[in-house]
């Protein structure tokens, strides 16, 4: 009797963008196993050429709806580096607060709406609205709080309209920051409730480990669990390297069986995202975030890619709790109205920030009038594609006897755990495809 497995998931659901999973196996022998990305290319790096420096973040924010703040900030940092534009300490803190809001929004969306249905054995969050009404309401409440936070600083939740090279067009008032602080106290409580619920289904997280290189930003002065500052660090090396050397990290390469460009640093692939940040910076998390990590036995050095979703949950608590302290600091010093001054000049600069799904690089070159003459962007999901493929190759032989439905679910859950954001299509798009 032959035992054929034929999995062809065309456009995996509950992820941002389009990806396919293909597995053909016969009597336990894998004939084909691929993670494919057929997203339509959008050519952002070509489109920004000829645009003024102050318009760049408007355009590249549209690379991704769910990481629009992150793309705006990466671009703005790159522009400021290219033109030696300094920003005030106040601007810096408020940007980090805005960036935290996006981490929370994106993570809650991923944990609650995209990943959780798998833990509960349903196809979407819709059936959970009747079976787990209170939990869904708490998730929605946390999601709304994150969006209101992002909207307060960014001008609206998606595609921020207050970020400019040099500073903000407008910042919230002290009263608004105080109100935000009160809301965040409630959000921390809501996140604890969500963590308690996820803990009851944590046995649905597959126990799979593969020794992996993790890459994330690391900030030493002062030591911070960073999303915005710092150098590029890896679990394979003690020294971090400066952001302007990011090409030495991504090392695009083409794999033999396809025209796909993947990234690698010290090994054939590396991973970025919440688990990478955790594995590099865990000791710097807030107290409550550490408690949540303990609930799930998440420890530094964890190599289970499915645990990325739990690392996101830990980060949710961290950003909410840390934001409360940062607002205290802002209010103690008192908010100042600051003029945004930026003078365009020729130059080239890179900027790196942590998107919710991993490290993101932007680089631009400008002429004397501040007109963009060249651009290069490398998004986190493209840095994860090779690692997803390597995980597939190690996982499938371990579960090959489990039957088609179980294998399919575990592969889909693995892709979802990386929280891919595939519509961020740029030049490093994985172009592997099957006729």
């Amino acid at each position: 009797m032959t035992n054929k497995i034929d999995i062809n998931v065309k456009h995996i659901t509950r992820v941002e963008g389009h990806g396919n999973i293909v597995l053909n196996a016969n009597n336990g022998t894998i004939e084909k196993l691929q993670w494919q990305v057929p997203e339509s290319p959008r050519f952002f790096e070509a489109m920004v050429r000829g645009q003024r420096y102050e318009d760049i973040q408007i355009i590249v924010s549209r690379i991704c709806g769910i990481c629009s703040v992150t793309h705006s900030l990466a671009a703005t940092k790159a522009i400021e580096n290219a033109m030696n534009i300094d920003v005030s300490e106040q601007t810096d803190i408020i940007r980090v607060l805005l960036h935290y809001a996006e981490q929370l929004e994106s993570h809650v969306l991923h944990i609650g709406y995209l990943a959780a249905p798998d833990f509960f054995g349903v196809k979407s969050v819709v059936p959970l609205t009747t079976t787990n009404t209170e939990t869904v309401k708490t998730i929605v409440k946390a999601h709304r709080a994150a969006n209101e936070w992002m909207g307060l600083i960014g001008g609206r939740p998606t595609h921020p309209i207050t970020i400019k090279p040099g500073g903000f067009t407008k910042i919230p008032t002290e009263k608004q920051f105080k109100e935000l602080q009160t809301k965040l106290q409630q959000t921390i409580q809501d996140l604890k409730v969500i963590a308690d619920v996820i803990a009851t289904v944590a046995d649905k997280i597959p126990a799979f480990e593969r020794d992996t290189e993790y890459v994330a930003l690391k900030q030493t002065t002062p030591p911070t669990y960073t999303f915005y500052h710092g150098d590029i660090a890896t679990t394979d090396m003690t020294e971090a390297i400066p952001v302007d050397q990011w090409h030495n990290v991504t090392n695009e390469y083409v794999v033999e069986q396809s025209t796909a460009k993947w990234t690698k640093w010290h090994r054939d692939s590396y991973a970025v995202g919440a688990l990478a940040r955790y594995n590099i910076n865990a000791e710097l998390l807030s107290d409550t975030a550490k408690e949540v990590a303990k609930m799930f036995s998440l420890e530094k050095g964890c190599c289970n890619p499915y645990m990325n979703t739990i690392a996101q949950l830990v980060e949710c608590v961290h950003v909410a709790e840390t934001a409360v302290e940062m607002i205290d600091g802002l209010l103690t010093k008192g908010l100042k109205e600051e003029a945004v001054t930026a003078t365009p000049k020729a130059g080239k600069g890179a900027g790196a920030v942590e998107a919710p799904r991993g490290i993101l690089f932007h680089e631009y070159e400008f002429d004397n009038n501040g007109i963009c003459t060249g651009a290069d962007i490398c998004i986190p999901t493209n840095q994860n594609h090779a690692n997803i493929q390597k995980d597939f190759e190690e996982l499938v032989p371990q579960i090959i006897s489990e039957g088609q439905d179980s294998i399919r679910l575990k592969l889909e859950m693995l892709v979802r755990a990386y929280d891919p954001c595939i519509s961020c299509s740029t030049h490093m798009l994985d172009v592997k495809f099957v006729e």
């Binding site: 456009h11 659901t13 509950r14 992820v15 941002e16 963008g17 057929p38 339509s40 290319p41 959008r42 050519f43 790096e45 070509a46 489109m47 050429r49 000829g50 645009q51 003024r52 318009d55 408007i58 355009i59 549209r62 690379i63 991704c64 709806g65 769910i66 629009s68 969306l109 709406y113 995209l114 196809k123 979407s124 969050v125 819709v126 609205t129 869904v136 309401k137 929605v140 409440k141 999601h143 709304r144 969006n147 001008g155 609206r156 939740p157 998606t158 595609h159 309209i161 207050t162 067009t169 407008k170 083409v254 025209t259 519509s423 961020c424 740029t426 030049h427 798009l429 172009v431 495809f433």
Partner: protein
């Protein structure tokens, strides 16, 4: 009465407009109760070939996408274009200002000849199929989306503003950004967004597209009075204005 079957489809875009539907938060739960969501890849695993209302996000950038869109149109009683990529081609249309072979080579280098990265000039949805209703903006304004969808579901014509962003901006009592040297496109862009960008101190960059019959000449007079140039105004319009001409008959 059966609940209307609603499906959401995404083409080339950032998926930020779908995100605004998720961002309806508690109201999304009401929406899910009022309609039958039959396909929404970003949020659900179910798929369907039968629907009353098809919501299309994104613009058309590949030949095969045109075929997929036509197939959806044939099955849908009502088709809604969601967001600037769908209504006017959006940011994706900036590409059309360049030679497409050069664009592909710039971004993909040695892999530019690969079939999967081939592209056609970006099209808005109504350049391929008939569109019944448009929800403007980049991203869409979620309150406006709900209001348009509810109107459609009860058989009423949705109210879509035919006046410029300046009207909403003045009503909010904002200072004019032109007084601060910003080239704001408010006078010629369709309102309905609540003038969110100028309210946040950021010029309008035209994501909702031109209003019908904009007073372009008045805008020219004013911009000259402010010592700014028409060239700069035009350069601001290329963010969301590629391939569009104001209907000034």
């Amino acid at each position: 009465m059966n609940k209307p079957r609603v499906a959401i489809f995404d083409f080339s875009c950032c998926e930020g407009c779908q995100l605004q539907i998720v961002n309806l938060e508690e109201e999304l739960l009401n929406l899910i109760g009022a309609v039958e969501m039959v396909e929404w890849r970003e949020a659900m695993s179910e798929q369907s070939d039968e629907y009353d209302v098809a919501i299309i996000e994104g613009s058309i950038t590949r030949a095969e996408d045109e075929e997929r869109l036509k197939k959806i149109r044939r099955r849908a009683k009502v088709l809604i274009a969601l967001g600037a990529c769908a209504t006017i081609g959006g940011i994706n249309k900036i590409k059309n200002n360049f030679d497409l072979n050069e664009v592909t080579e710039y971004v993909y280098g040695d892999n530019a000849a690969n079939k999967i990265v081939q592209t056609i000039p970006t099209k808005a949805v109504d350049e391929v199929v008939k569109v019944d209703y448009k929800v403007h903006g980049c991203p869409i304004h979620r309150e406006e989306f709900i209001s348009i969808l509810c109107s459609i579901l009860i058989g009423k014509k949705p109210e879509i503003p035919e006046y410029p962003v300046c009207v909403e901006c003045k009503a909010k009592g904002n200072p004019c950004l032109w007084d601060y040297g910003q080239v704001c496109l408010g006078p010629i862009i369709r309102a309905g967004c609540g003038a969110r960008c100028p309210t946040a101190g950021f010029r309008c960059f035209g994501c909702r597209g031109y209003i019908d019959d904009p007073n372009i000449n008045a805008a020219k007079d004013v911009i000259e009075r402010y010592g700014l140039s028409i060239e700069m105004l035009k350069s601001k319009m290329t963010l969301f204005g590629t391939g569009q001409e104001p209907n000034n008959d």
